[in-house]
């Protein structure tokens, strides 16, 4: 197994412009109260990381109850909206419309530069090394049709599928050669690369997603995900004060080991686990500076007050090196 580290700089504002992000979160807060205030519509779930049933709510955020699993350390919302309710929410709520009409569109260029290019490098490298004959690519829960286009430009794949693009209202924006599909059962061991970027956090059941990926991938096919992880510095230190714990966007913030265990159990061999997140230290520092009263260990306050950008950069690098950043990417091969 391997782990990759990225040493260049990235600012949170590059991918999540603060004003727009705050506007989105405010809409989300108002809409969730409207859509999900009737808790009888919500479903109680066991820990999606390890199926432990005994976790209790630890904090509330925008009316949702977040649990921290005492067995595996995953953060998750329970009770939570069903899959159908989520789909309806993203399609029709003001927040959902804002997300796709404004947020996704306006961050496209910076995402292309700061995120898509890395993803494409990642996919190219993995295919070269582990699946040189790969032709069929599947993107689960497509949010950025442009990414599919950029990937198409590499000439590696001849066939593209997008599953559930309507989740984010992207179906009309997909390049013409991308076929859309429902997740259920149409794939049977015919996918070479199954990608799920930042989607584990949002689905009702991550386990079901892994099961579908396993059913869809051919033997030797690749399953690749990116996700937020509760094992990382940002979430461990800030917990409910993290500006990125937002529901229902992040129903599941699974622990690193919970993610890898479940993927392995679904029939994959893990070949890479990296936490290439570049933002933890910046985010924690910013939250502390905005709100010095939050319960933060004095050690971190000391670092932020007394050490320069160099020290913080090295610290973020350390987090990456030892898989302690809050953004994880995993690659696995179907057994």
């Amino acid at each position: 197994m391997k782990s990759v580290v990225f040493l260049d700089d990235l600012k949170e504002s590059d991918i999540r412009p603060e004003k727009m992000y705050d506007e989105y979160k405010e809409l989300l807060r108002q809409d969730t109260l409207k859509y999900f205030s009737d808790h009888s519509l919500l479903v109680k779930v066991a820990c999606p990381g390890c199926l432990n049933k005994n976790s209790k709510g630890v904090f509330k955020k925008d009316g949702f109850n977040y649990c921290i699993c005492d067995k595996c350390g995953s953060f998750f919302v329970s009770p939570r909206p069903s899959d159908e309710a989520l789909r309806d929410f993203y399609k029709n709520s003001r927040a959902g419309i804002f997300l796709r009409k404004k947020f996704l569109t306006n961050t496209l260029e910076s995402r292309s530069k700061n995120i898509f290019s890395y993803r494409i490098q990642w996919i190219t490298g993995l295919v070269e090394e582990y699946a040189p004959s790969a032709k069929v690519f599947l993107d689960y829960g497509t949010r950025y049709p442009t990414f599919m286009k950029e990937l198409d430009n590499t000439g590696i794949f001849s066939s593209f599928f997008s599953v559930k693009p309507e989740y984010f209202g992207q179906e009309d924006l997909l390049p013409k050669n991308v076929k859309t599909a429902e997740a259920k059962c149409i794939f049977k061991e015919d996918i070479d690369v199954f990608a799920a970027f930042e989607i584990v956090e949002r689905v009702f059941s991550p386990r079901e997603l892994f099961r579908q990926a396993s059913a869809a991938c051919r033997k030797g096919g690749l399953f690749i995900i990116t996700s937020a992880t509760s094992s990382g510095f940002e979430y461990q230190v800030l917990k409910e004060h993290s500006p990125n714990i937002i529901a229902p966007d992040r129903l599941n913030i699974l622990a690193l080991e919970a993610l890898t265990n479940q993927i392995e159990k679904s029939g994959f061999e893990i070949i890479e686990v990296s936490t290439p997140g570049r933002l933890d230290v910046e985010i924690v520092k910013r939250v502390y500076e905005k709100n010095p009263g939050i319960p933060l260990d004095s050690f971190w306050k000391y670092i932020f007050n007394n050490r320069d950008a160099n020290a913080l950069h090295s610290f973020q690098e350390y987090l990456q090196q030892f898989r302690l950043s809050s953004h994880v990417r995993i690659a696995a091969i179907k057994k």
């Binding site: 782990s3 990759v4 580290v5 040493l7 260049d8 490298g125 070269e128 090196q321």
Partner: protein, 358 residues
């Protein structure tokens, strides 16, 4: 048509540290079954239930399909040749004998007995960092290799001067033939052959009758691709570093996973050469690092060997031709084009190091 009967019966000859590692690999392979171990010291087996042989020929008489030769370098040719001539597949540790003559003798046996597959333990090719670097090089996306620079150093450490590896009769040489040979194999793995060799072979510190430091330059006169190796037993720490510089970027493998983990975390650094507006390279391009957690090199080289036997495929990594070519480099580093040793001022006497071997 030769029919393979599984599992393949295996004998291990020589049961020191490496013999025990091979034993584990055999145990974990579904197509292999260990039928006996030969070691001059029966106590080496630590009461294992496996049948012990004091004489390797008795073990060969049991008709194993494969033998692993994990002895001192001195015995590798004799045992390998005997096994090959009986049609037994041979997996031998590196170096493939003490000198070029040894490995050429093994090659003659292999040519006369083409059924027997022969492979040597150049396991570094199977390290994940090396394999990933090879994929990147072969993809051509960073252009052609221009040069490589390799450092393989040992701390020396406790008992270094008493180690059999420094006994010329048993080993044939010092740090280069023991450890530096892996780096030479990797130079060839990435870049092919070298016809020009310049070197200094010295004994700076240990005074053990074999070299403890080698500096060598290798060049392919047609392509101008150049490689530089420093193989050292006075590094005062364990160190592995292989830098591969190409037309459009570079790779560096720093650290290599070993059983002791003392060569550092295996890391592959990759970077592209980034040009400024005037098309000149920027001094600090962005570098990405990949860290590796597991050393599966021993397992993977055995898997490949067994696959080649079962499917009757040629040995493409660490076969007899690789062994001969790499030993040719060792020989040329040890002595110049006139056959004279390339000794530094601090070096050994010619007789002490080379009188017997070359």
């Amino acid at each position: 048509m030769n029919k393979i009967k599984l599992p393949l019966k295996v004998g291990i000859i020589g049961y020191g540290k490496v013999g025990r590692i091979r034993h584990k690999c055999v145990e974990n392979h579904p197509h292999l079954e260990l039928i006996g171990i030969c070691d001059s010291d029966p106590k080496a087996l630590h009461n294992s239930k496996i049948k012990h042989y004091g004489d390797y020929k008795q073990l060969l008489d049991k008709n194993p399909d494969i033998v692993f030769v994990c002895t001192y370098n001195l015995y590798i040719p004799e045992i390998s040749i005997e096994a090959i001539s009986r049609g037994i597949h041979v997996f031998s540790e590196k170096p493939p004998g003490r000198n070029l003559e040894d490995v050429k003798a093994i090659k003659r046996a292999a040519i006369n007995n083409p059924f027997a597959k022969v492979k040597f333990g150049f396991n570094h090719r199977y390290h994940e960092g090396v394999a990933e670097a090879k994929t990147i090089v072969d993809s051509g996306r960073l252009g052609k290799i221009m040069w490589m620079r390799g450092v393989y150093g040992k701390a020396g450490g406790q008992g270094y001067d008493c180690n059999w590896r420094n006994n010329i009769e048993l080993s044939g040489g010092g740090i280069l033939i023991d450890q530096g040979i892996h780096m030479l194999d990797l130079f060839r793995f990435f870049c092919g052959e070298y016809d020009e060799v310049k070197s200094f072979v010295g004994n700076s510190y240990w005074k053990v009758g074999v070299e403890d430091n080698v500096f060598a330059l290798l060049r392919n006169s047609k392509t101008a691709q150049t490689a530089m190796i420093h193989s050292s037993a006075t590094q005062w720490r364990h160190k592995f570093l292989l830098e591969i510089y190409m037309e459009k970027g570079y790779l560096e493998i720093d650290g290599i996973l070993s059983s002791t983990r003392t060569y550092g975390r295996e890391t592959l650094k990759t970077a592209r050469c980034v040009l400024d507006d005037n098309k000149y390279p920027l001094p600090n391009p962005q570098e990405n690092m990949t860290y590796y957690d597991n050393d599966n090199s021993w397992r993977d080289e055995i898997n490949e060997f067994v696959d080649c036997i079962v499917a009757n495929k040629p040995i493409n990594n660490g076969g007899i031709d690789d062994a001969v070519k790499t030993m040719e480099l060792v020989q040329r580093i040890y002595c110049d084009d006139n056959g004279k040793p390339n000794l530094g001022a601090d070096s050994l006497s010619r007789r002490a190091l080379y009188g017997r071997v070359l």
